[in-house]
Assembly symmetry: C2
Homo-oligomer: 245 residues x 2
């Protein structure tokens, strides 16, 4: 897994398609990931068609990767298949609740990340779309997801046609705690974020957005309280629609 050290998010792809056999091998290998009771509480919807990508694009704010990548994968928390299995076997499933949603989400996200590790090792380029959680109902409709299936991650996948610079990371001491959680002091914060705040691209980002600090870019523009609260309502509505609450 040496490739992990030089991995970057890839948003531009060559015209080359992805062999379905390669994708199947990666799915098969990623499915070795541990899951709750070995139930594999996930599903992947593979979108290759132009119409399918066009239907998904608005849910992802029309980011160009969605229509330009040869393959879009939507990974879902899935208690449907397991519940149908139970119903076919004289068993009464009890998975219409938030714990079950979290269990299935965990399975889906762990599977997703092994897939990412494998795909990147195979030379593919990926972009993980955080937008999946923003408008889940639009994705549910586009992919015809039945009850107890909920989209938790989207990957656009293709052969890389760019090599962006490596992004920065916070120092280890900012996220590794020994024995109990160490709540960061203002002095800790200064130390943890000094390198990130000093990056020329981040300083430029603050300047062109007419902000005082880099943190304000996140709180005032990228991930605002208002947007988060509105999308939380959408998420709760989607969880209810899919029968998890």
């Amino acid at each position: 897994m040496k490739h992990i050290l030089t991995r970057r998010t890839i948003r531009k792809y060559s015209g080359r398609d992805i062999d379905p056999k390669l994708l199947d091998r990666l799915f098969t290998e990623a499915a070795r990931t541990q899951t709750l009771g070995n139930l594999q509480l996930y599903s992947v919807v593979v979108t290759r068609s132009v119409e399918g990508k066009a239907a998904l694009a608005p849910a992802h704010f029309n980011q160009p990767m969605v229509t330009q990548a040869p393959v879009v994968l939507t990974i879902c928390a899935d208690f449907r298949r397991t519940s149908t299995w139970a119903q076919c076997r004289k068993a009464v499933p009890g998975y219409s609740n938030i714990l079950s949603f979290m269990n299935a989400s965990s399975d889906a996200l762990l599977f997703t990340q092994t897939f990412c590790n494998l795909a990147e090792e195979a030379g593919l380029g990926l972009c993980y779309l955080g937008t999946t959680l923003y408008m889940p109902l639009a994705i549910i409709e586009a992919l015809k997801l039945p009850k107890l299936v909920f989209p938790v991650a989207t990957l656009t996948v293709g052969w890389p046609a760019e090599e962006p610079p490596l992004s920065d990371r916070l120092p280890l001491e900012s996220f590794v705690h020994s024995e109990t959680y160490h709540d960061p002091t203002p002095a800790d914060i200064d130390r943890f974020y000094a390198a990130k705040e000093a990056l020329p691209e981040n300083k430029e980002f603050v300047r062109i957005n007419k902000k005082e600090t880099l943190a304000q870019i996140f709180t005032d523009i990228r991930y605002t309280k208002k947007d988060n609260e509105q999308m939380s309502k959408g998420m709760v509505a989607a969880l209810r629609h899919q029968g998890f609450i």
Copy 2:
């Protein structure tokens, strides 16, 4: 990542400790995983002390791995550090909501799985404890997790002292869907679960539990409606306690 094909959950560990330098290298490499806005919305609490493991054990139903493993890792969704950063930088954080919890959970679980893949490649043995979501308040208390920090995964880690058989997996067609979700028919279910249901250990499991079908083992014993509903209440209470709802 050839090791993925032969990975198994390891619950028995040799007496050998894990070098802190190895653990730090694995954390550093796992942190190359993509996160929302590169905010790295996770934390890891490393438990090595006898007292620390004893404090965590009840939250994990006293499974012996928790006290026997040299290292227990609790990976948390963490919007605390980012919010404190904002407050130190004239920015007003807005992350006390369910979308933010899901965003941070996603970051934490993706990081967790890259860590798993790296650790297993390095020869370590892991057990992923699904119990983390069952009694989060007990873990929150044991690890002194402040508001906006929530435990989402626990790994017991050590050098393997067993080599259990590989576990089965469902066929690819059961979890990979083309373009839209294909809701499984009873005939599909028969095909998907035939191999799992035919395994001698699963047949024995059904017999000794005096059940009719394997699915009943899951619905009636392992993951019951009653337990799921009760633990869902605990989870909602914990999310409220940590300020996410």
